[in-house]
């Protein structure tokens, strides 16, 4: 034993040093791997939170019906195009100067995010009443995920356009809310914010929509989300992860929701773009510049028919409240020029 000890112990320090070095490197790499996985798990967790928050909206109650303004109306339910969600709404017939009801020209009224067909903040019931008293029937409905319509992923117009297309189908071939008034001959659309973007998407795909008024729409939803996430107190670095997880969970590609990329397809049908000059003062809504981006994109079509109206002093979706009768007169003139006069009373 004693004579063997030097011969076996001589190489041992070299081997120990090398194996110790190897063990240190293995531990360094293992620590790097563990750290990177921990960071990624944490990042993914916050991304899940953002993705689900993007989908969960408020559902304020419908505070009043058209009857509160003395209007006749019928509750209607119709399936969205392609995915058959049962969309809830009101059909309000137009009123001619002689008091006769009409459904010859119908305006699809589309509300903004986290709201419903009566949206008091934008004054939708009053706007419906104004349009009805100018002889336009109004089909006001709750977009999917809002009001009394079924829950659905929020897609900032991409899927919501199916509800507008369903409304067109309903007017063309659904049960008549007022059989004595017959079918609608001409359809136009009005929408604000999310509704404004949604009617652009829908009109780009449906030629039966003869004219579009889009109030306070975004040109591209991504900047709005990228500004909105930090404004809600979550660091901006989590936004891309949230959008990727949202796409995995809900199939919604938020990088591709750009009304500006489809608006040129509406030509030669007329478009009226309205925006409040004081929009986005809280950095959470839509900058006025988006109206010009949309207009520029729409003018990309050779036969484009685009009007713009920047309303001074108006914040997000407040142009109707600020301008009042001027707003009504302007959109009534726009719709009348696009759809022609009502001939049912003649």
């Amino acid at each position: 034993m004693l004579t063997q000890t030097p011969s076996t112990s001589t190489p041992a320090p070299v081997e120990d040093k090398s194996s110790r070095k190897g063990r240190i490197w293995r531990r360094v790499v293992a620590a790097l791997l563990a750290l990177s996985v921990l960071l990624l798990v944490g990042y993914t967790g916050v991304s899940f939170y953002i993705a689900t928050q993007l989908q969960v909206g408020k559902r304020p109650p419908i505070y009043a019906t058209p009857a509160s303004l003395g209007l006749q109306y019928k509750d209607v339910t119709f399936p969205s195009r392609y995915d058959n969600l049962q969309i809830k709404g009101w059909f309000i017939p137009g009123i001619l100067p002689n008091g006769q009801l009409t459904s010859q020209r119908t305006i699809l009224l589309v509300h903004g995010i986290d709201n419903n067909r009566a949206d008091p903040s934008a004054g939708l019931l009053n706007l419906s009443s104004d349009l009805a008293h100018h002889g336009f029937a109004v089909l006001a409905f709750d977009l999917r995920g809002n009001g009394e319509s079924p829950a659905a992923p929020r897609s900032f117009g991409l899927y919501e356009q199916r509800d507008v297309l369903g409304a067109v189908d309903f007017l063309h071939s659904g049960a008549l809310p007022y059989p004595e008034l017959g079918r609608t001959h001409a359809i136009a659309a009005w929408g604000d914010s999310l509704g404004g973007a949604t009617v652009i998407f829908a009109a780009a795909n449906e030629p039966a929509i003869k004219a579009v008024v889009s109030d306070s729409s975004y040109a591209d939803v991504l900047p709005r989300i990228e500004r909105g996430v930090p404004a809600a107190g979550v660091p901006a670095m989590f936004t891309p992860g949230g959008l990727v997880v949202a796409q995995w969970l809900y199939g919604v590609d938020y990088y591709n929701i750009k009304p500006a990329s489809v608006i040129a397809s509406i030509a030669p049908r007329p478009i009226l773009l309205i925006h409040g000059a004081d929009d986005n003062k809280n950095h959470r809504t839509t900058p006025p510049a988006d109206m010009y981006l949309l207009a520029a994109a729409a003018l990309g079509a050779q036969n484009a028919n685009v009007q713009t109206w920047m309303v001074p002093g108006a914040t997000h979706i407040q142009a109707y409240h600020v301008e009042g009768q001027v707003y009504v007169d302007r959109i009534v003139a726009f719709y009348t020029a696009a759809l022609g006069p009502d001939t049912s009373g003649s």
């Binding site: 901006a236 670095m237 995995w248």
Partner: protein, 135 residues
């Protein structure tokens, strides 16, 4: 693997070629955890899309629940598979180091280090990529 490396030392003329082969082999072994992670995440995303489609008739909340559960289970599974794969590869590296296959062991460690960089790259990109500031 260790036998192969030990043979290298007995054939000096073949050493550069065989060392290169060992390094490549070590890199490939080191990338196995990353490949498994990517594969399981991909499967989790596909399974989530299928779960979403299968629950369409149940409405949004059923769809959301199915998608969330499927994706979370898939991602947890991916992390577990990745951790086991990393542990086994590191164990193998230890054996190679003891057997004197230093080139192969070092190549594998470099590949694992690269794996850590790839895993953290989404966070680095999210930090570095420009986003739309508040106007």
């Amino acid at each position: 693997m260790s036998t192969h490396s030990i043979e290298e030392t007995t054939a000096p003329t073949q050493q550069p070629v065989e060392a290169k082969g060992s390094a490549l082999h070590g890199v490939l072994i080191g990338l196995i955890p990353l490949g498994l992670l990517a594969g399981v995440v991909l499967l989790a995303v596909i399974a989530t899309a299928i779960a979403r489609e299968l629950t369409v008739s149940g409405g949004f909340y059923a769809q959301q629940e199915a998608a969330l559960i499927t994706l979370i289970i898939g991602l947890v599974l991916a992390v577990v598979v990745f951790a086991i794969a990393c542990w086994r590869v590191l164990h193998l590296v230890g054996l190679w180091q003891k057997a004197g296959a230093a080139v192969q062991a070092a190549a594998t460690l470099w590949a694992l280090g690269f794996t850590a960089l790839v895993i953290i790259s989404p966070i680095l990109l999210a930090l570095l990529l420009p986003q739309h500031p508040a106007p």
